[in-house]
């Protein structure tokens, strides 16, 4: 069933079939083993079977299920999340084939039932399979409505109803640019958003003046349109589609008013209609849907129906909640419970578009003067709330932007609670207890609830970790990582996981030696020392000298060795692309959907109109779905297709833009404030100094990412005190700060030294970079490195030893002569071209 509301006005007086309840049917009339045939393998059908199997009476049936689609039972509502890339197909399967087997259900997929013979009590499928029934359940669902316009038959036109449609849309998104969605209801909007997320340019045509007019009032509909417009969907409201044009493929959508929209893909999402042909042919009572009574029986007492194909008391259904209720009643009835009754309740809808929050239930506006509307509207934060009161009770709610109270309102509506006493506060929502504030003291893991999330990246809770440690008898951090995935991604929860290991297994993980990886017994310092003292200049040489267990190493040690060799032998050692994580190999950041993000360098956060023009042109030319300003004073272009990267870089390069290394374990940004050139508090040229630092240090490879900042006065607008290297300008000169870090484990910088000239700042910066490069472990930020070796050690090397500082800086500048090369320019000019292109497509032979 679709996640769309389809409570259409009833064209004829609704027949009431609740009189069928008089039929005195019980299990005694059934043969000892009764045949139940289910037509339809969708959500309503299988939920009914699940409900039936919960009852003792359900065990009487031999169940046969026919599904027209070639798949097992899946969650159709989630198709829009699959389209948008938020979920994968296998994540929306409700019942796998094993479930059917375990419950003795015969499943026939990819075969549609074509006839019901009520006299012979059989159904027959398209493939000629004939199955007798004692009870029959019809759950044929609905079909998409299509407008009566020319061009529907063209390739490139599809509905948004099943997996096959989603496959078509995804295939189009891979190779085509322009999509037009017809229909501005829930389904149409989710389709449009999904295609936009997949990098297409999307236009949406809607017949009505505002979006989702059945669920939202005009004000909320306009807010929604404004937000989606900002996210790059073009709207054509009050648009009546006249024709889809094209010769052998869809090319454009033509509107009655003459507007024409280019379209490689046209998605029809104007609504759904109950699929009733089979029931009509079988002579069952039909109105808009298959008419059922409160017992979910059709006009034939042996035949039940549930889901979007039915009509109950004049109402048809498109939302999941009432259909779950139908399934429950129908399952109970089939199992012999004669008391189960279906009654429809107040319904709510919500929209599945990431970051857009919409909720509505009941009346959208006051029906007459005795009804009251209370509204709250906060334009700048994009929040809109409206509640409708009638006789002291809540009868409707529309929420936009802030919907956490939706279910609470819905409950008030369903319970018909008297809310007069709450009236003045009601629109502000349910008051939540203040969240308790966490302290920095030692954590009591015994008392911590099992569902407390420890690893945010992989969604692992304390209970999962403790259970794995105890049942699998884990004793090391790497074992816990392997079995639970906790701390396996960003590693910020490593300390907590170690503490849980200590709590659950009594093992002090911190005391065990941290080897580079499981390939070797050597730790990072031993590897670096061997490279230096034994003059090892290749990964094979390192692995041979230190008796590596795997001849080629693994994904952990190879990037580390590659870095150590590159750092130790600048100009001699050649970078090994195959030992680079994909981001550093392709010089862009991989995103969860396999696209990439591109961040050009903006020296010291400065840019020019020409650069901004170039970025805007590139974003439009390559249909880049998201353009975001980063925290590091640059612009991030998100959702770039891999094949487009060299061309994007080429265009950016024409305007003088180079790689920002936003993907690299290297210098990322140098954040600055405007300094004394503009600011009335500024003491030095902080922006200019930031640019000099960035020009000196860009392109270098480091153990982990490195961020700088320069603030023009102690107000510290550039947040220099949480950077790897921060400079705070004062009247007398410059304070140099090192080892700061934002993120989960915030660490404020230590003061390294106060100097009086820019040249000194630059020399200290170079020396600091080189010390960090030469002595930190791969994947160790400067904050944990300094926490490990101590700020006093860093001061001894950089402040007290002037000669050593000079040498460190010289080594850094020497290695920079090989590093200050724009990798984007190289690749835009053809370097590593094959890495960006897939193999030639396999085509003709397979057609």
């Amino acid at each position: 069933m679709a996640n769309t509301n389809l409570i259409l006005p009833s064209p004829t007086p609704s027949p009431n079939r609740s009189d069928s309840m008089y039929i005195n049917d019980d299990l005694a009339r059934l043969p000892p083993v009764a045949q139940l045939v289910v037509i339809g393998n969708g959500m309503a059908a299988m939920r009914t079977v699940e409900e039936l199997l919960k009852h003792e009476g359900g065990k009487r049936y031999r169940i046969t299920v026919f599904g027209a689609e070639p798949h097992v039972n899946y969650n159709r509502i989630m198709l829009s999340s699959v389209l948008a890339g938020d979920k994968q197909l296998d994540e929306i399967v409700i019942n796998p084939r094993e479930w059917y087997e375990e419950n003795g259900i015969r499943l026939i997929t990819g075969d549609e039932v074509t006839a019901i013979d009520r006299d012979a009590r059989t159904v027959t499928s398209a493939n000629g399979i004939c199955v007798p029934y004692d009870r029959l359940l019809i759950a044929t669902g609905s079909k998409p409505l299509a407008p009566r316009i020319p061009g529907l038959e063209l390739p490139g036109v599809c509905a948004f109803r099943d997996i096959a449609d989603v496959d078509k849309m995804l295939a189009a998104a891979r190779t085509h640019r322009h999509a037009v969605v017809i229909g501005g209801g829930l389904l149409g909007l989710e389709a449009a958003w999904g295609l936009r997320q997949r990098g297409m340019s999307v236009a949406l045509v809607h017949l009505m003046p505002t979006l989702m007019e059945r669920q939202l009032d005009a004000a909320a509909g306009q807010l929604l349109q404004r937000d989606l417009d900002r996210r790059g969907i073009a709207f054509f409201t009050e648009g009546q589609t006249k024709e889809i044009t094209g010769v052998d493929h869809a090319e454009s959508v033509l509107l009655e008013d003459g507007r024409e929209i280019p379209a490689d893909l046209v998605v029809l999402a104007i609504g759904i209609r109950p699929r009733i042909e089979l029931a009509v042919a079988a002579g069952l009572e039909i109105n808009r849907g298959i008419v059922v009574g409160d017992d979910m029986r059709t006009s034939d007492p042996l035949i039940f129906a549930v889901g979007e194909c039915v009509e109950h008391r004049g109402q048809v259904f498109g939302l999941v909640a009432p259909i779950w209720d139908q399934a429950k009643v129908c399952g109970a009835r089939l199992a012999g419970d004669q008391a189960a009754i279906f009654a429809s309740k107040a319904l709510s809808t919500s929209l599945k578009i990431t970051g857009v929050e919409v909720f509505s239930a009941g009346a959208l506006m006051a029906a007459d003067e005795s009804d009251e509307e209370i509204m709250l509207r906060d334009e700048s934060s994009g929040v809109y709330k409206k509640i409708v009161l009638r006789d002291g009770r809540l009868v409707g709610v529309v929420l936009y932007g802030h919907v956490v109270d939706g279910q609470w309102y819905l409950k008030l509506m369903r319970d018909k609670e008297d809310v007069s006493a709450l009236r003045e506060r009601l629109v502000f929502g349910k008051v939540f207890a203040e969240a308790e504030s966490g302290g920095a003291k030692a954590v009591d893991y015994e008392a911590m609830p099992d569902d407390t999330q420890i690893c945010g990246c992989n969604g692992v809770c304390k209970g999962d970790i403790v259970k794995a440690i105890r049942t699998l008898k884990l004793t090391t951090l790497s074992e816990v990582r392997a079995h639970t995935k906790a701390s396996a991604s960003c590693g910020q929860c490593t300390g907590q996981v170690e503490e849980i290991l200590a709590y659950a297994a009594g093992v002090d993980a911190k005391a065990t030696k941290k080897t580079v990886c499981d390939c070797t017994e050597a730790d990072h310092d031993e590897v670096r020392a061997a490279i230096r003292t034994q003059q090892l200049k290749s990964m094979d040489a390192v692995r041979a000298a230190l008796a590596w267990k795997k001849p080629e190493g693994c994904h952990k040690c190879r990037p580390a060795l590659n870095y150590y060799l590159l750092c130790e032998w600048p100009g001699e050692y050649h970078d090994d692309a195959s030992s680079r994580f994909v981001n550093e190999r392709l010089h862009a950041n991989i995103q969860k959907d396999g696209t990439y993000s591109v961040v050009p360098r903006m020296w010291g956060g400065l840019t020019t109109p020409a650069e901004l023009h170039a970025i805007a042109d590139v974003a439009e030319k390559f249909n880049i779905p998201t353009v975001k300003v980063t925290g590091g004073q640059r612009i991030d272009l998100l959702g770039v297709k891999k094949e487009d990267l060299p061309a994007v870089w080429s265009d950016l390069g024409q305007a003088g833009l180079v790689s920002g290394h936003a993907y690299a374990k290297g210098l990322r940004t140098v954040k600055t404030c405007v300094g004394k050139e503009w600011c009335r508090f500024g003491t030095q040229d902080s922006t200019g100094l930031g640019v000099k630092l960035e020009k000196m240090c860009w392109g270098s490879w480091t153990p982990h990412k490195v961020k700088f900042a320069v603030s023009g006065c102690p107000r510290n607008c550039a947040e220099a005190s949480i950077k790897d290297l921060g400079v705070i300008c004062i009247d007398a000169g410059y304070d140099l700060l090192v080892g700061g870090n934002g993120g989960v484990d915030v660490r404020v910088t230590d003061l390294l030294v106060r100097v009086s000239t820019e040249d000194e700042v630059l020399q200290y910066a170079g020396a600091f970079m080189q010390l960090y490069r030469e002595e930190a472990h791969y994947m160790e930020r400067s904050a944990p490195w300094i926490a490990r070796v101590g700020i006093d050690y860093v001061k001894r090397r950089l402040v007290e030893d002037a000669e050593g500082r000079e040498q460190l800086c010289q080594r850094f500048l020497y290695s920079q002569t090989f590093a200050r090369i724009d990798p984007w320019h190289e690749r835009a000019s053809g370097a590593a071209a094959a890495a960006f292109q897939p193999l030639p497509e396999l085509a003709g032979a397979l057609a």
Binding site: A482, K550, P551, P559, S578, P838, L839, L842, L846
Partner: protein, 115 residues
Amino acid sequence: MNAHDWKNIGPLESIPRSGSRRLCLRQAGRPIAVFRTRDDEVFALIDECPHKRGPLSEGIVSGKTVTCPLHNWGIALDSGEAVAPDEGRAGSIPLRVVDGNIHVYLPEPAVEAIA
């Protein structure tokens, strides 16, 4: 296995050593990752990690294992099986090298099945 079900996708050298490239089918189908190990062995898998469908063709290839770039699952190149304790499997495509060219086994119904 019919001879015409083996598709020539080009020379071994078109795949980087200890690396991979993606092969797309013009028919709407899941892309295939073609891997070449350091020892010039070649393998083909459906280019989707069994965990979250990460592009295996972008992973680091060590020995006969590729590490998914999204969440570091290890996948055996010869079987498609996830390295324990992870569980799951990426579809494996038969492949052979003839006269220096890589041929993958893609019978037409199989192409349907992947789609």
